[in-house]
């Protein structure tokens, strides 16, 4: 449930604080203001002011930069109803993540590990969504007894 400011209003500051608290990888804490600054081009001090409600009407391009970094629609910060939808989607994914990585999971659901060649990886190039998973799902629709389990053998071995 998104937090509200002390006077009960949905403010930009409250929205931003909520995003920072929730949207980060499971194996670390929230992104620091310095990290967010590096990624968005905004200064750490400016973000600090935003987080503490000292700038209530940020410029739209700065809002856009933050929204792009977090991957939410820019109106998240201004529309409480939209914010609620986004928050429930975030909660769904967190539940999903916890189910997928816990021991003894019985449902085969979203638990794939994708190979990525090392040279292709950049810090934010990891794929949490992949078209490849669709191919795997299609493949799994066919009964195991009838589908091919091996690759076609090459006819000649050219080095």
């Amino acid at each position: 449930m998104p937090e509200q400011d002390t006077d009960g209003e949905w403010t930009f500051a409250a929205a931003l604080r909520h995003l920072i608290a929730r949207l980060h990888p499971a194996d670390r804490g929230p992104y620091s203001l310095a990290e967010i600054g590096d990624a968005t081009g905004l200064s750490r001090q400016y973000i600090h002011q935003l987080v503490h409600g000292r700038r209530n009407a940020p410029r739209y391009q700065n809002v856009q930069a933050l929204a792009d970094f977090f991957g939410v629609p820019p109106n998240y910060f201004f529309d409480a109803h939209l914010a609620q939808q986004v928050d429930s989607e975030i909660a769904t994914l967190i539940t999903r993540r916890e189910a997928a990585t816990s021991e003894g999971e019985t449902e085969d659901y979203g638990r794939s590990l994708l190979a990525q060649r090392v040279m292709d990886l950049s810090p934010h190039a990891q794929q949490a969504v992949s078209a490849l998973v669709d191919s795997l799902r299609d493949y799994e629709q066919q009964p195991r007894t009838t589908r091919s389990r091996r690759k076609p053998e090459p006819h000649s071995d050219a080095t």
Binding site: L23, E89, I90, A128, V133, L136, E140
Partner: protein, 167 residues
Amino acid sequence: MKRRSSHSRLGLNCRAQVKELLRNVQLPNPWSMNTFIDQLETYRQREIDLCAFLWTPGSATGAWHPYATHDVIAYAENTTPAHQDHTIFHEVGHMLAGHTPRCVLSTTEAEGAAPHLRPAALNHLLAAESHALDEYEAELIATILLAQVAKIRPHGPLQRRVEAVFQ
């Protein structure tokens, strides 16, 4: 969460893992990935299905999906046999190193579960810092295995160069 040792120690661990594997699973001669996978199944007492998919630009090059009683390894059908072998070895690397599979959504699932969230949000939530090191480890294991396979091939300049590196 596993503590990670330095990269040099990681290299030693990967070599050790491959050595251990090859003590128990022979690399077929002449080389055949299918035969190798058959033998790996026997060793692990767990079936492995190879699944071909159509690679498109921007897509991952392969996947490993462990199910309750078997594993599926996906590889690109539209690439060379050598590249396919590299991909499959990479996934085998993840298996041998005991990596935790991650939550990855299909595009349809993502649209259904989180229509308002863009890829950046999903990456923040579902990616992890340890993943890059997992990829490095899997790739290292694949490289070592490929070097061993290269030794099987008929003598030639490539093999001599590979052997020179590992002397």
